[in-house]
């Protein structure tokens, strides 16, 4: 007869069997049995965060940069509701995490017990799937299913609610050999006929563009993407989530597209005759006004999630499947289509296309005006990029700094970039960076944050210090909510409302209060030495960079506008008035 053990121990044993080595969490009444079991359980590192959302974001950082499932563990009620933001964040960006929450004992569920909340009801719309465990025998199968669901198909967060009595009661561990869900069978291989059709379109195209999203990173398809791009000589633009899927400095790279994308990426997509969307979902921050997005293009869309296809933009060649497998097949199909040579690729039309893109790039490169006295945020990004050679793990908060980081950090590799793309969660930076650092001890993790965004989870400096996670945070300090200020300036006629954060707290002192190192620079000449000092410091560091607070992110497409309606430089009054007329808000 099998040995009986507590549900709590079964949970930990199951996590270990799933290959989990790190859990991000915070204890509380309902999960105390789990923490008690953790006391002498071998092989699981627990990182104690200071607020539950941080546990979720840390799990996201862990997952995004390792390709494994991130795990977080919090208690019932308020802990679970705190976690909701991280769950929705992971859901929007398709990040595989398994979130464990405590729940009041089964006999009290629904009785308004202390620290009770309808966790499953609350997380249902912001997870890929969720479970309430009602019998200890189900723990093994449910945990297996949870990891399977989180990591396969379109990845996403899965939540398991664990009532306290289930964790206490002794039962046998049931561990199924494999997971089989009759209702869940993601389609991995694209339809061969569609792939052939796509290959033909790509070879025959005169003005093709590859539009690449986070799906390429999730499916580890960057090598295939590079091969396809070089084979077909098609330029590549990536979304915010797709940064790193294609080397930023590759000659075929158009860098990011969309609201704050490059002029040349947006113009190329707009003028394209064949647009190949790979693991991207036509987010409104990418498309701008949908009627005018790539209006001439035959659109090929490769995505593992059928519901993403033709959701925002009607697609001509849908291919449902895993990006890596589909790209592999597409490369073969393109080779076959090209026969021995590459006549259509070398043709006059393609040459004109390359020349046109080069012209756009030359006319409107990413640029900013240098200033000898004020630090320009773009310059900070360039220096971080140079001094880390594009090899650091980079995490951001949400706001202007996020867009500048996306524009100016030159990525060489995938899985080195974590940012809150879909939900736009301020405060995402530090906790996510902690998760990345826990997953990659000894590696350089840089959190580029804004003063407004960083303030939202700055308590996690304590976690960085006590858990030995030497995250380097660069605060792009413009004494306010910069992106909101930018919108109020450009679209709301400079009616600045509720955006000032006048230097409180003193970030250097705050860093020191948490046992971290604090540095500050106010002049351009001080920047590079300070970054070098930060990189050389083996402890968590805050580098407070006081930047030009009037600097705005350009290019910019006002919300609801067409991508060709880019504002490229600080707007004149005339442009502001025009934008004010067409504004549709955030």
């Amino acid at each position: 007869m099998a040995v009986k053990t507590s549900g709590a121990r079964i949970v930990l044993e199951c996590l270990k069997r799933e290959g989990v080595d790190t859990i991000f969490g915070l204890p509380g009444g309902a999960v105390l049995p789990l923490y008690d079991a953790l006391y002498d359980f071998e092989g699981l590192r627990h990182v104690l965060v200071r607020q539950e959302a941080a546990a979720g974001h840390a799990a996201e950082g862990y997952a995004r940069t390792t390709g494994k499932v991130g795990v977080c563990l919090v208690t019932s009620g308020p802990a679970a509701t705190n976690l909701v933001t991280a769950l929705q964040d992971a859901y929007m960006d398709s990040i595989p995490i398994v979130a464990l929450t405590g729940q009041v004992p089964t006999h009290l569920i629904g009785n308004d017990a202390f620290q009770e909340a309808d966790n499953c009801g609350i997380t249902r719309p912001c997870t890929k799937h969720n479970f309430l465990v009602k019998d200890g025998k189900d723990l093994g199968p449910i945990i297996r299913e949870a990891f399977h669901i989180a990591s396969t198909g379109r990845p996403g967060p899965v939540h398991i609610d664990l009532p306290k009595d289930i964790l206490v009661k002794e039962t046998e561990l049931v561990w199924p050999d494999k997971v089989q869900l009759r209702s869940y069978n993601p389609n991995y291989d694209g339809h061969p006929g569609q792939i052939k059709k796509a290959a033909r379109l790509m070879v025959q195209a005169h003005r093709p563009v590859l539009y690449v999203g986070g799906g390429v990173i999730s499916s580890d398809a960057h090598a295939e993407l590079l091969e396809l791009a070089e084979l077909t000589q098609i330029p590549v633009t990536t979304t915010l989530m797709g940064l790193g899927a294609f080397p930023s400095e590759h000659p075929l790279s158009l860098e990011m597209l969309g609201m704050h994308g490059t002029y040349y990426a947006n113009m190329a997509v707009h003028a394209s005759d064949v647009l190949v969307a790979i693991g991207a979902r036509f987010d409104d921050r990418v498309t701008g006004k949908v009627e005018f997005f790539a209006p001439e293009a035959e659109i090929i869309h490769i995505d593992i999630d059928p519901s993403s296809i033709s959701k925002n933009i009607q697609v001509h060649v849908p291919i449902v499947g895993d990006c890596r497998r589909v790209l592999r097949a597409l490369i073969d199909a393109v080779r076959e289509e090209m026969g021995g040579g590459v006549p259509s690729l070398a043709g006059e039309a393609r040459q004109q296309w390359r020349a046109q893109i080069a012209q756009w790039r030359e006319k409107q490169p990413l640029r900013y005006e240098w200033d000898d006295t004020l630090i320009k945020p773009q310059y900070v990004m360039q220096e971080i990029s140079n001094l880390t050679r594009g090899e650091a793990y980079v995490v951001t908060g949400v706001g202007q700094h996020q867009m500048w980081a996306a524009q100016y950090y030159k990525f060489k590799y995938p899985r080195r970039w974590c940012t809150s793309g879909g939900l736009g969660t301020m405060g995402y930076g530090l906790p996510t960076a902690m998760g990345v650092q826990a997953a990659h001890p000894g590696k350089l993790v840089v959190n580029i944050d804004g003063d407004g965004s960083f303030a939202m989870n700055s308590q996690e400096l304590a976690t960085c210090f006590t858990e030995n996670l030497p995250v380097k945070t660069v605060i792009i300090n413009n004494s306010g909510h910069g992106m909101v200020r930018q919108w109020q300036r450009i679209i709301y006629k400079e009616r600045y409302c509720a955006i000032d954060l006048p230097g409180i707290p003193d970030w250097v002192k705050l860093a020191e209060a948490y046992g971290c190192v604090g540095l500050r620079v106010t002049k351009p000449s001080e920047l590079a030495p300070a970054i070098e000092k930060m990189l050389a410091t083996p402890a968590p560091v805050i580098l407070d960079v006081c930047v030009d607070k009037d600097e705005c992110v350009f290019p910019m497409v006002p919300a609801g506008g067409a991508n060709t309606d880019m504002i490229l430089t600080p707007p004149t009054r005339e442009v502001r008035e025009k934008a004010a007329k067409s504004q549709t808000g955030f």
Binding site: C120, R124, L132, A271, F292, S307, S310, D565
Partner: protein, 193 residues
Amino acid sequence: MSNGNGSEPRKHTIAILVENKFGVLSRVAGLFSARGYNIESLSVGETLDPAVSRMTIVVHGDEFVIEQVTKQLHKLIDVIKVSDLTDDNHVERELVLIRVNAEPQHRAEILRTADIFRAKVVDVTAATFVLEVTGEEGKLDALIELLKPMGIQELVRTGKVAIARGPKARAKKVEPVKRARVSDDPRVVGFAD
């Protein structure tokens, strides 16, 4: 519920096979409510396999909306199969129970009407009848209209259940929607300069 893509909104009858687990109904209903869509009717019950339930949902929408709804339904882990029965040859039925005033001068007429509609009298008192009737929406509406003058005290409808005729439902095809061309966009003029 039109996105202005050309197809007219209309009623769709969608059949869904789901795992018979708690929370499934809420997941399905949540898909609609989260998008601000109103479900016209929803009925659910076990199938031959007690581990599987079948839902029949009636929802109003154009082709685009319905395509999204069915794709999103497919995406739910507990959903086994989704079929849109609307354009298939299918049978739809609804059950209604009606408590109607039965004054002496109306009793005969109510019974005659019930007979015509093949309604059954399932409860009788000196002052009321409860009628049970099944059928398509139009038939039930017609009966209700006829009974209204007698005074309907209470009425309960189940919502529709539907099943395809013949061996199998056909797959639905959604036509691509036309998008704007460059020439339609005044702003693109001269973009290549």
